[in-house]
């Protein structure tokens, strides 16, 4: 459980986790294995369609939540279950304690339930003198260690067999070895005894089916079957978000849940419990069953037009499985009780803003979670929205406010950038790298060298270099983004040169400014919206076929986030649609629209590898275009491991969490160096900055360039 008092303390805690070698290698191995095994588990399925179906059916369930609850309650009670409603965690725990008292319960066994973790149920029961034993192996281990889970599905993934050996030695009072199979058998026998003794079994539920009043439990170990069978009392605690109209809905979710969670076609056991089942150890011959339905912030979430999509979460935990930050720091640093991307959001609603304040800032916005989510939840957006809300409620930190104020005023911002060029002069190296940085951008960046502000920004060069095109095939608007305008204008110029050869007429509207993504990252939503509007206005006068940007992050932000940012102004809707539909990234434009061919280039067979920017591969769904282009331009492309994993830049993220950014960069560069390539290409100036700075710091000879620079350098002269 993450409990840092402020961001600085949290940063330190995260940096400490980097030193945990066992954790790091366990999570690395898992991240790599998961990618392949998930793919195999979904073989033959149309994953996108399945995810859409889940999103639709969960949205539809939410719309009729009250009716579903009534139907579920009626049907469950008709079959002999008592259904309770708890508005918050305390109320849920009080209900369960009351049931325990009424049934004379002294000993409880539990099968895994995140909802019970959420309410801290074990503590509440123990405070009343009840012995509680978790029976999921991982949960039992962390319970014995007095820890919270570090993953929603694999709660003890942070622990080694040696730690488990020592723990079991203590618990059994007899020496244990470190053979995992034997340790599992010890747990089998120790817990079997607990099952036999227990008065009450507590479970969660993966599904609550209104049509029949049944619950569904998804487990591998089989402990849920014993928990729901042996004790005379069964209590199932579940969020109201588990309600579904029909079994058919539950089966659809099941198809994705296990494949996404553990890459299994299905778990060993799926158990459907309906009504007061047979029990040989009660007088009535029937089990005493209670379903406790928990709100605890869920209704508040449901009523919110933006956050209601969180109801689609099926708790598969996949958002942690693919999160590059989770992979570095583990679940205890990447969650309060719920872990991973969804955990950052749920913490805010279930446990209050203080539990989420630091966490939400630790999202690098790479969109890996959004890409894998079983319910198609736009997790990164919601994380930023939580951040913005906390800032709106508690006050914006000064740097964030200043950034907002500055970026809203394009002239002021650009003047500052120009001034920074002079401020940096005395410290800029001969090679164009800067040791001490423009203060408004970065601090604590000694792990990479940073570029200097260019002598002349692209906008000042434009009038001189704008080519005259006689019979243009296309007319395009160039959106440079801040970094290419002021730091890497040569990348823009390379594009102009190539486009000219293909009869592309270009305009560069001078009123364009920062895309606004850094503001969104800092939780400055209002400023982000203002900047979006400025950019929309800057391009509306130009009738262009495409709006091209060489920055994948700008492209993805312009295309995907502008409609959301500007949705409140209905009069703008048409213009926004027109704008966003024209936005295209460099590689897609050159590959799909210009359709360059091998004969356009002089191939040199240079060994080249690629870093796929998060906002290109996931933000825009572009995977193959840049690689095809490299091959067409005659380069020898070699794929690096983790090609689509974040380089650690993340805009302002790398300034907030430099230690984590550094580690992500290190992993990336290790993979790049392992290919033996001489040239590393990517489609984002932010990534270029991060990668080039990191390689320079290492003293590597590998060159880094934007894809367009490599293409233009190899094009045949016209």
């Amino acid at each position: 459980m993450q409990d840092a008092k402020n961001l600085n303390e949290y940063r330190k805690q995260c940096a400490e986790s980097l030193g945990n070698e066992f954790l790091r290698s366990a999570l690395d191995n898992f991240a790599v294995a998961y990618r392949t095994s998930r793919k195999n588990a979904f073989e033959g399925f149309d994953v996108d369609t399945l995810i859409d179906e889940i999103a639709d059916l969960k949205d539809a369930s939410l719309e009729q939540l009250d009716a579903l609850y009534e139907q579920f309650k009626t049907n469950a009670e008709a079959a002999g279950v008592t259904v309770h409603y708890a508005k918050d965690a305390d109320e849920a725990n009080a209900i369960i304690n009351r049931i325990a008292t009424e049934t004379g319960t002294k000993k409880v066994i539990k099968s895994k339930s995140m909802t019970a973790e959420e309410t801290l149920l074990n503590h509440a029961l123990e405070d009343e003198g009840i012995e509680v034993t978790e029976t999921d192996l991982g949960e039992w281990i962390i319970q014995l260690r007095h820890e919270g889970p570090s993953h929603m599905v694999m709660p003890a993934i942070h622990l080694s067999r040696y730690q488990v050996r020592d723990l079991f030695t203590e618990v059994t009072g007899t020496e244990q070895g470190d053979d995992i199979e034997k340790l599992v058998k010890v747990a089998r026998r120790e817990l079997r005894q607990k099952f036999v003794e227990a008065d009450m079994g507590i479970t969660g539920a993966n599904f609550a089916v209104a049509e029949t009043g049944s619950i569904g439990l998804v487990t591998n170990e089989g402990n849920a079957r014993l928990t729901t069978t042996l004790p005379r009392v069964h209590v199932a605690l579940m969020g109201i978000d588990k309600l579904l109209p029909t079994l058919s809905d539950a089966l659809k979710i099941l198809k994705v849940l296990t494949r996404n969670a553990t890459s299994q076609q299905i778990t060993s056991y799926v158990t459907w419990v309906t009504g007061a089942n047979e029990s040989a150890n009660t007088e009535s011959g029937k089990k005493d069953i209670h379903f406790v339905m928990l709100d605890n912030g869920r209704r508040e979430m449901a009523a919110d037009p933006l956050f209601s999509q969180v109801f689609r979460c099926v708790r598969c935990g996949a958002c942690a499985n693919v999160c590059p930050v989770y992979r570095l720091v583990g679940g205890h640093k990447m969650g309060h009780i719920y872990i991973g991307a969804i955990g950052l959001i749920l913490s805010y609603f279930f446990h209050g803003p203080e539990s989420a304040r630091n966490l939400v800032q630790n999202c690098i916005n790479c969109e890996a979670c959004k890409d894998i989510c079983a319910g198609g939840i736009d997790l990164p957006r919601l994380i930023k929205a939580v951040h913005a809300r906390i800032q709106d409620d508690e006050g914006h930190p000064l740097p964030s406010l200043l950034l907002g104020k500055m970026l809203r005023n394009r002239k002021l911002f650009h003047t500052l950038l120009r001034t920074a060029k002079w401020a940096q002069k005395p410290v800029a190296d001969q090679d164009g790298f800067l040791r001490y940085l423009p203060m408004m951008f970065f601090k604590q960046h000694d792990f990479k060298v940073l570029p200097a502000i260019a002598d002349k920004p692209f906008r000042d060069r434009w009038a001189e270099i704008r080519p005259e095109i006689q019979n243009p095939r296309f007319k395009v608007g160039l959106f440079s983004g801040c970094v290419q305008d002021f730091v890497y204008p040569e990348q823009m110029e390379a594009a102009v040169e190539l486009f000219k050869d293909h009869e592309v007429d270009m305009v560069f509207p001078m009123q364009q400014s920062c895309c606004g993504l850094p503001l969104q990252m800092m939780g400055e939503m209002k400023a982000s919206r203002d900047v979006a509007l400025q950019n929309l206005r800057a391009f509306e006068k130009e009738s262009v076929d495409y709006i091209i940007t060489l920055c994948a992050s700008c492209a993805s932000h312009l295309k995907n986030n502008y409609p959301e940012l500007l949705k409140d102004d209905h009069q703008l809707a048409g213009k926004v649609k027109d704008f966003t539909s024209k936005v295209i990234d460099l590689s897609s434009f050159v590959h799909d629209v210009l359709q360059v061919k091998e004969e356009d280039f002089l191939g040199d067979g240079k060994k080249v590898t690629y870093h796929s920017p998060c906002h290109l591969c996931r933000g825009l769904g572009v995977h193959e275009a840049p690689k095809n282009l490299m091959k067409r331009a005659g380069m020898d492309y070699i794929e690096a491991a983790d090609e689509e994993v974040c380089c650690g830049f993340g805009g302002t993220y790398s300034a907030k969490f430099p230690e984590l950014s550094e580690q992500l960069l290190k992993n990336k560069l290790d993979n790049v160096e392992a290919t033996g390539a001489e040239l590393l290409l990517t489609d984002c100036p932010g990534c270029v900055m991060q990668l080039r700075g990191g390689l320079a710091k290492r003293g590597s000879t590998i060159q880094v360039a934007h894809t367009i620079e490599a293409l233009t350098a190899r094009k045949k002269k016209k």
Binding site: E175, R189, R192, G222, N277, N281
Partner: protein, 215 residues
């Protein structure tokens, strides 16, 4: 005529898919021609292939005194076969007792240390995942499939459906009429909670044997 041939072919592919997927989930699938052959299989597993032991698995490890004490309550080698019609159970009981093994169809709560074999019959099979569907509102049946060391389960080929969706009607019949307990069982009990190492038999059976019976 053409139509029935097509149906037969489809059945064959569904059946093959079931076998593949069940095996992929670490279940053992064998074909038996009739009920007697199914009993033979279970008996052979018990007598010759070491399924039946004096001590159940884990009891040889270093345990706490209370866990050890539960181990001691298991007496002899025993098969539990609840849920069969009277005549079928009698055949099972007769064969097992002749071979010198214990055989019960009820009283599972007295056997919580474990039984060697749980011998049952599945209601349906799901090909897409290699899953057995057992409707088990009977506590005896539930416990027999959970506290056994090896679970041996008969599945009639005609009861294999392509996916769970195709079984919705039947499942709703189970679940829509008062108290019910229905289990999907796919392979043996497993965990990967220690260092993500796949380990079989944490709470439930160490092995799942599916006896596919033509009908």
């Amino acid at each position: 005529m053409t139509e029935s041939v097509e149906v037969a072919q489809q059945d064959q592919s569904v059946r093959d898919l079931f076998i593949d997927k069940a095996r992929a989930a670490a279940a053992r699938v064998v074909e038996v021609s009739d009920f007697d052959q199914a009993i033979d299989y279970a008996l052979d597993l018990c007598a010759n292939r070491g399924a039946c032991r004096l001590k159940v698995s884990g009891c040889e490890e270093h345990l706490s005194d209370t866990a050890e004490a539960l181990c001691e309550t298991k007496i002899g080698k025993i098969i539990a076969a609840p849920g069969f019609e009277k005549e079928s159970y009698q055949r099972i009981e007769q064969r097992f007792k002749e071979a010198g093994f214990g055989c019960i169809e009820k009283g599972m709560r007295n056997q919580l240390a474990g039984v060697d074999i749980g011998f049952t019959r599945a209601d349906f099979g799901i090909a897409e995942t290699g899953t057995l569907v057992l409707n088990c509102p009977s506590e005896e049946l539930r416990l027999a499939t959970m506290v056994c060391e090896y679970h041996v389960c008969i599945l009639e080929s005609s009861k294999i459906f392509n996916d769970a969706q195709a079984l919705e009607k039947q499942l709703n019949q189970f679940m829509g009429n008062g108290p019910d307990y229905t289990a999907f069982i796919t392979g043996p009990s497993r965990t990967a909670d220690i260092e993500r190492v796949l380990t079989i038999g944490v709470h439930g059976p160490l092995e799942l044997h599916i006896l596919l019976m033509e009908d």
